[in-house]
Amino acid sequence: MRMISRYTIGLLPIVIIMLLAAYPFMNDSRSTLILLSKIFIFAVFAMSYDLLLGYTGIVSFGHAMFFGIGAYAIGIVMYKIGDSMGMLLLALLIGVVLAAIVSYIVGILTLRLQSHFYAMLTLAFAGLFTVLAEKWRSITKGNDGFPFPIPDFFRDRTTFYYFALVFMILFFLLLRRFTKSPLGRVLQAIRENEQRTASLGYQVVHYKVIVSVVAGVVAALCGGMYGMTLRFVNTSVFSMNTTLDALLMTIIGGIGTLYGGVIGAALIELAHELLTSLAKVHPIFERWIIFFGLLYILVVMVFPLGIAGTFKLWLKRKKTSIPLGKRDDVPW
């Protein structure tokens, strides 16, 4: 009996992926395909945030900056230079390199200090990039942003949907490999006990800078993908809301799990969608931050380790058959 249920759970992701792959054949509504593509992209964005928060214990208040760098790199190159496939690759490369440089600089400057310095400096840098995007009007067209073309190949919503799905699966596998690698194990040790990690012979700052760069680069790629989804970019990609989305998705999904990001992204994006449509019924629903706050409180109360984290714990209890009554991992 237990065998069967374990087997089913192992099968679950495969079934979900097959359903998602088959989805465009059942329903090719443009808006749903776009929504799902966005979920896939935000799932990876949340995973990149999870590398910092869940695996290493680093808090960033400006993760949106890397997302925005990726999105603007695509937008500017496509609009100003050309929308060929080669240019797309160049744009992604520019985004990645810029994100790597910025995350490296921020990391080197603050990661040897107490943790709040990183949080504050990322926030400051994100603010700097917002101002840059607002004021450098000749390139960015200011606050309103601008639409841009993308290569014909990706213009088809179904094609792009599959591309985004593969992007998510690929990055999930890559990042999972990363977190299970010798380096990834050290990150988790740093989260648990930084000083002890150092006294085992690991130079903590190097690891923090590496994970900061990896998370920044992945976030920039997500930003690029997001730009390709909307074919439009404005300063909102740099905003605190974007960082908050990543934070909420990670925590609601379950930190330190990676796939929690998928659950969190789906929930938050669907909630966004629902609230936008409800806004026609009553304007209160435009204040989505209130509802996200409520959702957050609800999830944290019911699933203190996030949805994926609580699920994982539940599975483990089942496996080792510890009665659920004795839950010392849970605050209550």
Binding site: S181, R185, V186, E192, N193, Q195, R196, S199, L200, Q203
Partner: protein
Amino acid sequence: MESILKTRELTIDFGGQAAVSGVSLEVPKHQFQSIIGPNGAGKTTLFNLLSGQLQPTHGTILFKETDITHLSPPLRTRMGMGRSFQITNVFPNLTVLENVRLAVQSSAGVRFNFFSALSRFKQFEEEAVHYLKSVMLDGKRDSLAKHLAHGEKRKLEIAMLLALKPELLLLDEPTAGISIEEVPAILDVLRGIKEQGDKTILLIEHKMDMVLDLSDSVTVLFNGKLLASGSPQDIMNNELVQSAYLGGLYDDAS
């Protein structure tokens, strides 16, 4: 005899109060040396200076003929100095096995690998299990470290130190908190290391009788100062030590 560790006039001030003051110490290679002293004598602080957790206000530390006074803790560890902590200091939400495996990985010099062969990982784990067995903790390999009892955490601490394979082991009261029945087994582990003959052990102990027969030499610390140093026999018979340390305080403390 050649010495592996030498300190000169080592001093640290905590706002006017010198917790360690003018300690000049020499530890010969492959020796088992104990540091004893009453509560608050500065033993742990001395270890913190040796392993780099604290910077001295004055004085120098030589390890294997190199001045390491300003070297960071991880680099000292890589040079072959490992320590255990008096206050348990493990990775609470990782498994017992993973706690030790991280130490094995570090001593194998595997630091920045993004990808590693599964066989290598298995090898690390097997080695980690070996160290867990040596402290009788292999039954708990899959528990989270935070779920261990206090004595078990102390044993985990020792396993992590052994897994680093240091040339110089700094042990801060390794038997404190371990149940009376298990203490001999832990001392056996230390004796085993001593008999292999290729390691140097510097051990802090509160209760002198515990380590007298293991120690080649004993150093007494009192009020941050080096009071006496010599063979266990000399220390036992030293009048200064008896009056300052064994006299009143020792009986209260044990």
